[in-house]
Symmetry: C2
């Protein structure tokens, strides 16, 4: 995916064993919320990402702890983030942290945080 | 989910047997693109949906044909839509239509189109 100058990464917990429907809804939530952060606070990145075709990559985290550490790293680099907690109406307890959206942001900055994570 | 006055529905093809990572990325794409349509053209719906917590539901379509018919129905009701085609860089042929985002829009209008579809 190196041709994309901007990307968004959605980090999803694999330890929760979410259903495909839950994955789709939670990933959608992370994508919209992180994109909104970018649109409000990094509008140049957001615009460039939209124009480039919204590159999105889904990667794995093994635990809530790992999700929180990634959020902290992204915030230190001042990248847009959105941590998603489930309402708990269906398959998970209320408040469960399911995934983290990071970016859109320049790919080289994104790779510092998520470059080593396995594809979901 | 009847407490939500606004919702977004992501319709994903089950006949493609997409991986979980593909599902997450494509659902994210549909969610962001349909939300952008709403933000630009139906900003009251978009705002109300964001404030309500962005209700999102993932449902199944059995074929490309079904996806296209749903898009047509949604367009006839003047609901925001985003039909997503895959770039074909990984597991699918280029241009494959993978999913459709509809809404955010008022739940009663959404239900006319997607109310009978099975959860993904």
């Amino acid at each position: 995916m190196s041709e994309f100058k901007y990307k968004q990464v959605i980090v999803l917990r694999v330890d929760l064993r979410m259903s495909k429907g839950k994955i789709a809804a939670q990933a959608g939530h992370a994508a919209v919320s992180a994109a909104e952060q970018a649109r409000k606070h990094y509008s140049d990145w957001w615009k460039a990402w939209i124009e480039e075709g919204q590159c999105k990559i889904a990667v794995k985290a093994g635990s809530e702890q790992e999700l929180l550490e990634l959020e902290l790293k992204a915030k230190k680099l001042k990248l847009p983030t959105a941590l998603i907690s489930d309402r708990g109406l269906t398959e998970l307890p209320p408040g469960t942290l399911t995934c983290l959206g990071i970016g859109p942001a320049p790919s080289d900055q994104m790779d510092k945080i998520t470059g080593e994570l396995n594809l979901f």
